[in-house]
Symmetry: C2
Subunit: 235 residues, 2 copies
């Protein structure tokens, strides 16, 4: 199942056009994270015959809630150069793997705010950071157009080969990252100001590995055991 | 040069979104055929920073005028099954050839009316009839979305190999087709009611062949010579 997650959308018209674009390419599950929209009537007006997508849409307060059960998270950005914890790819290049992952469990496609896109902390939640290639002097795609193009690429692609792995859901990974953050400070590997940048590298490794639930348990066990051993040394 | 030709558009808002979609993927030449729009201000409002495309847009009264100089014409349709004089293809499959032809001369991409699309006679002008693959139960793309997806595919593709031919412009082909129509009636090959369907087959052959100007001259010469020979027999 492929889930479209709109983070902080502000305009009902865009949500309506997104519902339409999803339906054009067979996507049905829409989640809005903390939308800043009071009146959705314009969304219904513009979503001609895609009302069912809007009616089933869920609204959640945080991104974590939207992706907790997802085995793969792909975010979109118009910013080309920055380095995130996810692997950079075009929608076309990532489409096969996204489809393959969706056969194993829920996959989230994140689209950011109309004005600011996704924040870096949000992009750091992503296995893949998708950049839609556009003319360099006019890169601004609106929200519904970005959804349309990504949904189109997924529809066009066949499910690619997924590495021999059953990726852990985002909530498990986040629990591991929280453990690791605490541990890195505890052992003096880094300090709080540099922690976000260090964590970006660790997140990236985990995303590239498409860690399984079992592997996440092993890594958390390793952290626990390290702490235990430190405690013993101090005694 | 790739030209976007909107045939009979009715809503200024769509023209504005089309200008934007074109600019996203580096297309600059827009032609409106007999638009049914009185006030273009909504187009300007919605075309954020793509005003230059609208300002340079040409308005012409007939499709023939819009495509007369084009060496390749590709039309779009949501109707899958019908048989036209053009070769059916997806935008992705045709993109390489369209780019290659655009290196030789103007290429026209035709998009039809918001409600009815392109008429069959208009699709018969096309070398390629493009069908954008969508979910079967919800095929309705709006005008700007269709332009966005076709422009995106062209932007993504590299110029493919063009057969060793320098295709004749549409105006030359149309002159040949008019000669041929008259000739087919004259010699009793068909009758006026069946003529459109018969011509569709002849158009298709010409489109598949990507006839050169020289070849079109040869075919017209053949018709002339046949007429002359008939005249002699009657004497």
């Amino acid at each position: 199942m492929i889930r479209v997650v709109l983070v902080g959308p502000r305009e009902a018209a865009n949500v309506g056009m997104v519902a339409r674009a999803m339906k054009n390419f067979g996507l049905k599950e829409l989640v809005l994270v903390a939308p800043e929209i009071r009146d959705m009537s314009e969304a219904y007006r513009l979503s001609s015959r895609a009302h069912d997508v809007l009616e089933r849409a869920r609204i959640v307060p945080t991104l974590d809630e939207a992706i907790a059960d997802c085995v793969l998270v792909a975010g979109t950005t118009a910013r080309r150069r920055e380095r995130y914890a996810g692997l950079a790819a075009t929608p076309r290049a990532a489409a096969g793997l996204i489809r393959a992952a969706a056969a194993r469990g829920p996959v989230a496609l994140l689209f950011g705010r109309e004005n600011f896109g996704l924040f870096n902390e949000e992009l750091d939640r992503c296995h893949y950071v998708l950049h839609i290639p556009t003319a360099p002097d006019y890169a601004s795609l609106n929200l519904a157009q970005a959804v349309l193009l990504v949904a189109y690429e997924l529809f066009q692609s066949q499910a690619g080969a997924l590495p021999e792995t059953d990726p852990a859901p985002a909530a498990s990974l986040e629990a591991y990252f929280r453990d690791l953050e605490a541990y890195l400070i505890e052992i003096g590997y880094t300090d709080p100001p540099r922690l976000p940048s260090v964590m970006r590298h660790f997140r990236r490794m985990a995303h590239k590995a498409l860690l399984t639930e079992e592997e996440v348990r092993m890594l958390r066990g390793l952290l626990r055991q390290s702490r235990w051993a430190m405690g013993r040394r101090r005694d």
